[in-house]
C-alpha cells in the first residue's frame, strides 16, 4: 500500500492505496464519487474524464498514486450552491444528454475545451470530443450545448 494525499473537489484527501489502484476506482469506490463512470476497459469511451490540475484526463488511464499531490475535480465538484456550472446548464438547455452515462465525462471534457478555445466551432467541438462516446444523442445536441456552454463560460469569466 502507498500513501497518497491529494485535493478532490476542493477537499483534502489522504489514503493508502494499492499500487495497481486506478484513479477512477479510487474516486468511485473509496470516495463514493460515483458520478465518474466506467464505460469501457480500453480508454476509448471517456465516461471517466475528470480534471487533474485543471486539465481533462481519463481517470481509467491513471493510477491513483499518479494523482498524489494534485488537485482533482469531478463532476460532483462543478456546481456551487445548487447552481449548475455554465457548461452543465448548457447541456440541460440544449438537451445534450439522454441516459446521462457519458455526460459527466462529456461535461468535464467540454470545460477543458472551452478553457482553451473560448468560441469553438462545431468542427472544433466534434474533433475535441473524439475521446468521448455517446450512443444516445448522435452528438447533435452535445455540439450545440458545448458551443453555448463555452460562450457562457467566457461571458461569466
Amino acid at each position: 500500500m502507498i500513501a497518497i494525499a491529494l485535493t478532490v473537489n476542493g477537499k483534502p484527501v489522504a489514503a493508502e492505496v494499492e499500487p495497481r489502484r486506478l484513479l477512477v476506482d479510487f474516486l468511485r469506490d473509496e470516495l463514493g464519487l460515483t458520478g465518474t463512470h466506467i464505460g469501457c476497459d480500453t480508454s476509448q469511451c471517456g465516461a471517466c474524464v475528470v480534471h487533474m490540475d485543471g486539465v481533462s484526463v481519463k481517470s481509467c488511464s491513471l493510477l491513483a498514486v499518479q494523482a498524489d499531490g494534485s488537485q482533482v475535480t469531478t463532476i460532483e465538484g462543478l456546481a456551487s450552491d445548487g447552481d449548475l456550472h455554465p457548461m452543465q446548464a448548457a447541456f440541460r438547455e440544449h438537451h445534450g444528454l439522454q441516459c446521462g452515462f457519458c455526460t459527466p465525462g462529456m461535461v468535464m471534457s467540454a470545460i477543458d475545451l472551452a478553457a482553451r478555445v473560448p468560441e469553438p466551432s462545431p468542427a472544433d467541438v466534434r474533433e475535441w470530443l473524439s475521446g468521448n462516446f455517446c450512443r444516445c444523442t448522435g452528438y447533435h445536441n452535445i455540439v450545440q450545448a458545448v458551443m453555448a456552454g463555452a460562450r457562457a463560460m467566457s461571458t461569466d469569466g
Binding site: E18, C45, I75, E76, C99, F101, C102, E127, C136
Partner: protein, 775 residues
C-alpha cells in the same frame, strides 16, 4: 401552466441529477457488506467441458465462493428461456434450448459463462477467476449463416443437426409466383443486414441481496423491463414465488433493446447472495458487454420483385436467413420473422407478398432486439429495392415511390402483411424532405464535387414502422404535498420523468414541478411491461392520462360533497373544482381534505384521491417519414462522409419536441453507424469475436457524424387517445437505406449498383476498384 403542457420543449427534470453526478446507475449501488463477483467466460466458441477444477481459486484468501454449472444444477436453478414458439419446415414444433446460467457440459460461444467467482474485492475475484482450471475439449465452430447451413457443418445443438433453428413463412406463394410470371420486369436483390453490437454506454450491472429472515430477494439491475426481470427470476431461473422477488432499477445508461431481457448474471448474484449470506455485486465490463449482451440484426435477404413496365410494384418474394447465435434469446426468433415480416409492405400498396425466413444457430453471441427490431430490416429491404427498381426501369427514386405509395385517401389501409395503417401521408413527407434537402440542387452539388475529385451522392428512404404494443397500468397518488405517477415503463434515457409529468401537469392543471414520476421498483409498481418497441408514450402516455382523469372523476365526488353541490354541477378546470356558483377548491387542497375520513362522500370508502387506470392498446401506431442523406466519397480511400442529413417525420401528437428530436438524432446516428462503420467481425474458423472492444468496433464518434436537419409534420394517430405514434426507433429505421442509397448514387458514375453494409472505407475502396477493373 401552458409552458409545461403537451407540445412544449420542457427541459428535463432528470437533468439536474444526471448533470451533477447524482444519477444512480446499478454499478453505483453499494450495499453494506457486499462482495464482488466476476463471471469466468469461455475462451472457446465451441467446446466440451471435460472438468472444472476450482481448488486453486477457492484456496485464495478473500475468495468466498466459486460456483459452476454443476452447482446451478444441484441447487435446482433453471435456464433463461426463449418466449417465442418456433416451428420447423414441417410445421412441427422445434426444440428451444434455454440459455443456462452457467454452461455445464458444453460452451457454445466465446463469452458463455462457465463459473461465478465471489470474493471480498473485485481484484481478488479477477485473480481467482484466472486460477480456475477448465479442461476444454475444443469442437469445430461455425460463425456465419453460410458456414452453419453448409453440408456437414458442426451442429451447435445435437438436437438440431442442420443448425436450422426454425422455418417461418407468411403470405401467398402461389399468388406471388403468378404475379412474378406476369410482371414486365423482375428486380432481384441480395442484401446483408450486418450484425451490430448495441453498445449502450452503461455496461450491465447487477447487485443481489437475500434476506434470510423473510426469504426475499432484492435485485438492483440495469434493465428496460424491471417486471420482466422479476418474472424471469421467479418463473424460470430462481424458481421462487413472484412476491419473493423485488427488482429495483435506478438510472439506466441506455438500452436499445439489449436490456429488455433477463440475463444469467441477475439470477447468479441473487443465488450467490443467498449462498454466502451477503450482498453480491457484478459489474460487467465492456469486453463482457461485447461478448455476452445480445447483438442485433444479422440477416441475409434475397428479394425478387415484379414490376409493371411503368414502375408499379406487383409482388414481392423475400427469402431470408437469420443468424440467431448460439441460443434462441428471449424474443430472438420474433425479430426476423413477425417483426420484419409485418412491415414488408412498408409505405407501398403491395398486392402480394411471400416471405420465408430460416433461423440459424451459430457459435456466436445470441441475437435479439436492437433498436427497431425487425422494422429496420424490412425498411432496408424495401428502400434498397425501390432504388434498384428505379435504376432498372429508368425512373427517379422519388418517382417510383410516389407511384407506389399508399395514398391518404386509402387510410385506414390494411396491408397484405397484416397491419392496418390508421393514418399517414407519405407523399407529403417525401415532398417536404426533398424540398428541405434541396434534392433538386443535388445535381449541381455533384458537379461541384466532381470538379474537386470527390464523388457526391444523394439517397432517400420513405419509411413506416409499427409501434406500441400491449397495455400498461398507471397510478397517481398524492404524497407530501406533491403528486406521484407510478408506471411500469422504464426510461433508459428517453426522459419519461419529464414527458409523463407534462401529461399529468396539463391534465390536472398542477405545476410541472409538483409531479414526480416513479419507475423501476416492482414493489411500488404492481405491473409493467417495460420499455421496448417505442411503446412508452403511445401506451404509457394514455395510461398516465387516464389515471389523471380518474383522479378528476374521484375528486369530483369529494368536491361535490365538501361544497355541498351535485357532482354533475362541479366542473374541473385549471387545477380547481368549482360549482356553477363559483365556490371551489383546489385539487391539492382537496387531496389533503380527502385524507380526512370525515370528508368521505356517501358511498366512498377510500380516503384518498389516488387512482389507478389501465390503457390497453387496441391498435398499433404507425410513425412514418422520409430521410434524405447526402454523402461524399473519396475515390482514393473509399472514405464516406455524410455531408447533409434531412428528415421529415410524422409522429402524430408531439409531447415534447426537444425530447423527440433527441430520439431522432440518436436513431439516425445508430443507423449511420450500422450503414458505414459498425462491423461485427467473427473469425470464420475459430468464431472468435474480433471486434470485442471499442478499439476494434467502430462506434460513431462526434466527428463521424454531421448535424441533422429534422422537422416534424404530424398527423395525429386516430387509434391512440393522445394521437401519439411513438418515436424511439424511427431514426434507426429510416437511416440505413438512405445512407446506402446515397453511397450507391455517389458510386453510380462508376457503374456501381450495389454495396452491403457496413460501407467501410475498405469495402467502398474494393467496390470502386472492382468497378474500375470491370470497366
Amino acid at each position: 401552466m401552458q409552458r409545461f403542457g403537451l407540445g412544449q420543449p420542457v427541459r428535463r427534470s432528470e437533468d439536474p441529477r444526471l448533470l451533477t453526478g447524482r444519477g444512480r446507475y446499478a454499478a453505483d449501488v453499494r450495499l453494506p457488506g457486499e462482495a464482488r463477483a466476476v463471471v469466468l467466460r469461455s475462451p472457446h466458441a465451441h467446446a466440451r467441458i471435460r472438468a472444472i477444477d476450482t481448488t486453486r481459486a477457492l484456496a485464495m484468501p478473500g475468495v468466498l465462493a466459486v460456483l459452476t454449472g454443476a452447482d446451478v444444477a444441484a441447487d435446482g436453478l433453471g435456464e433463461v428461456p426463449c418466449s417465442i414458439r418456433v416451428n420447423g419446415r414441417d410445421g412441427q414444433r422445434m426444440p428451444r434450448p434455454g440459455r443456462p446460467l452457467l454452461a455445464a457440459e458444453r460452451v457454445r460461444y466465446v463469452g458463455d459463462g462457465v463459473a461465478l467467482v465471489v470474493a471480498e474485492t473485485l481484484a481478488t475475484a479477477v485473480d481467482a477467476a484466472e486460477r480456475i482450471d477448465v479442461d476444454y475439449d475444443p469442437l469445430p465452430a461455425v460463425a456465419t449463416i453460410e458456414a452453419a447451413v453448409a453440408d456437414g457443418a458442426p451442429p451447435v445443438w445435437d438436437a438440431v443437426p442442420d443448425n436450422r433453428a426454425f422455418f417461418w413463412q407468411r403470405g401467398d406463394g402461389d399468388a406471388v409466383a403468378a404475379a412474378l410470371a406476369g410482371a414486365d420486369r423482375i428486380v432481384s436483390l441480395a442484401l446483408a443486414n450486418n450484425r451490430v453490437v448495441p453498445c449502450a454506454m452503461e455496461p450491465r450491472a447487477a447487485v443481489g441481496a437475500f434476506d434470510a429472515a423473510t426469504g426475499r430477494y432484492t435485485l438492483y439491475t440495469s434493465s428496460q423491463s424491471p417486471h420482466g426481470v422479476k418474472k424471469g427470476l421467479s418463473a424460470h431461473t430462481l424458481n421462487v414465488p413472484e412476491e419473493m422477488v423485488h427488482v429495483i432499477v435506478g438510472d439506466v445508461g441506455g438500452g436499445f433493446g439489449t436490456k429488455i431481457f433477463h440475463y444469467p448474471e441477475e439470477a447468479l448474484v441473487l443465488w450467490a447472495a443467498r449462498r454466502i449470506g451477503r450482498p453480491v455485486k457484478w459489474v460487467g465490463d465492456r469486453s463482457e458487454a461485447f461478448l455476452a449482451d445480445t447483438h442485433g440484426r444479422d440477416q441475409r435477404n434475397r428479394l425478387t420483385a415484379g414490376f409493371t413496365a411503368d414502375g408499379r410494384l406487383l409482388a414481392l418474394k423475400v427469402e431470408s436467413f437469420a443468424n440467431m447465435g448460439a441460443y434462441l434469446n428471449c424474443f430472438g426468433p420474433a425479430i426476423p420473422t413477425e417483426m420484419t415480416g409485418c412491415m414488408l409492405s412498408g409505405v407501398y400498396a403491395l398486392p402480394a407478398l411471400h416471405a420465408v425466413c430460416e433461423g440459424v444457430y451459430t457459435n456466436t453471441t445470441p441475437v435479439d432486439a436492437y433498436r427497431g427490431a425487425g422494422r429496420p430490416e424490412a425498411s432496408y429491404m424495401l428502400e434498397r429495392l425501390m432504388d434498384a427498381a428505379a435504376r432498372e426501369l429508368g425512373l427517379t427514386p422519388d418517382a417510383i415511390r410516389r407511384l407506389n405509395f399508399i395514398t391518404p385517401d386509402r387510410m385506414p389501409y390494411r396491408t397484405v402483411t397484416g397491419p392496418v395503417y390508421d393514418s399517414g401521408d407519405f407523399g407529403r413527407r417525401l415532398d417536404a424532405a426533398l424540398a428541405k434537402a434541396d434534392w433538386a440542387g443535388a445535381a449541381g452539388r455533384k458537379r461541384e464535387a466532381a470538379a474537386r475529385g470527390s464523388l457526391r451522392g444523394i439517397g432517400l428512404s420513405s419509411y413506416v414502422e409499427i409501434c406500441g404494443f400491449q397495455g400498461e397500468d398507471a397510478t397517481i397518488r398524492f404524497a407530501d404535498g406533491g403528486i406521484e405517477v407510478l408506471v411500469g415503463t422504464q426510461s433508459t434515457g428517453q426522459g419519461h420523468e419529464t414527458a409523463y409529468a407534462q401529461i399529468v401537469a396539463e391534465t390536472l392543471g398542477v405545476p410541472f414541478d409538483a409531479v414526480t414520476v416513479v419507475q423501476g421498483d416492482t414493489d411500488r409498481i404492481r405491473t409493467g411491461l417495460g420499455t421496448s418497441g417505442s411503446r412508452s408514450l403511445p401506451v404509457g402516455g394514455p395510461a398516465v392520462k387516464r389515471a389523471a382523469e380518474a383522479v378528476i372523476a374521484r375528486g369530483r365526488g369529494f368536491a361535490a360533497h365538501l361544497l355541498q353541490a351535485d357532482a354533475g354541477e362541479v366542473r374541473f378546470a385549471e387545477g380547481r373544482f368549482e360549482t356553477a356558483g363559483g365556490r371551489g377548491i383546489d385539487l391539492m387542497a382537496l387531496a389533503e381534505a380527502a385524507t380526512d375520513p370525515a370528508n368521505l362522500p356517501p358511498g366512498e370508502t377510500v380516503a384518498v384521491l389516488d387512482a389507478t387506470a389501465r390503457f390497453d392498446l387496441e391498435a398499433s401506431t404507425f410513425p412514418n417519414g422520409c430521410h434524405v442523406c447526402e454523402v461524399e466519397v473519396d475515390p482514393e480511400t473509399g472514405r464516406v462522409t455524410v455531408v447533409r442529413y434531412t428528415v421529415v417525420d410524422d409522429f402524430g401528437t408531439v409531447v415534447n419536441p426537444l425530447l423527440l428530436a433527441g430520439q431522432v438524432h440518436g436513431g439516425i446516428a445508430q443507423g449511420i453507424g450500422q450503414a458505414l462503420m459498425e462491423f461485427t467481425a467473427y473469425d470464420p474458423d475459430s468464431a472468435q469475436l474480433l471486434t470485442a472492444s471499442f478499439v476494434d468496433y467502430a462506434l460513431p464518434r462526434a466527428a463521424d457524424l454531421p448535424a441533422f436537419d429534422i422537422a416534424f409534420d404530424g398527423i395525429p394517430c386516430t387509434t391512440n387517445p393522445l394521437g401519439i405514434k411513438g418515436a424511439g426507433e424511427a431514426g434507426t429505421i429510416g437511416a440505413c437505406p438512405a445512407v446506402i442509397n446515397a453511397v450507391i448514387d455517389a458510386l453510380a458514375p462508376l457503374g456501381v449498383t450495389h454495396i452491403d453494409m457496413p460501407a467501410t472505407p475498405e469495402a467502398v475502396w474494393r467496390t470502386i476498384r472492382a468497378a474500375k477493373t470491370a470497366a
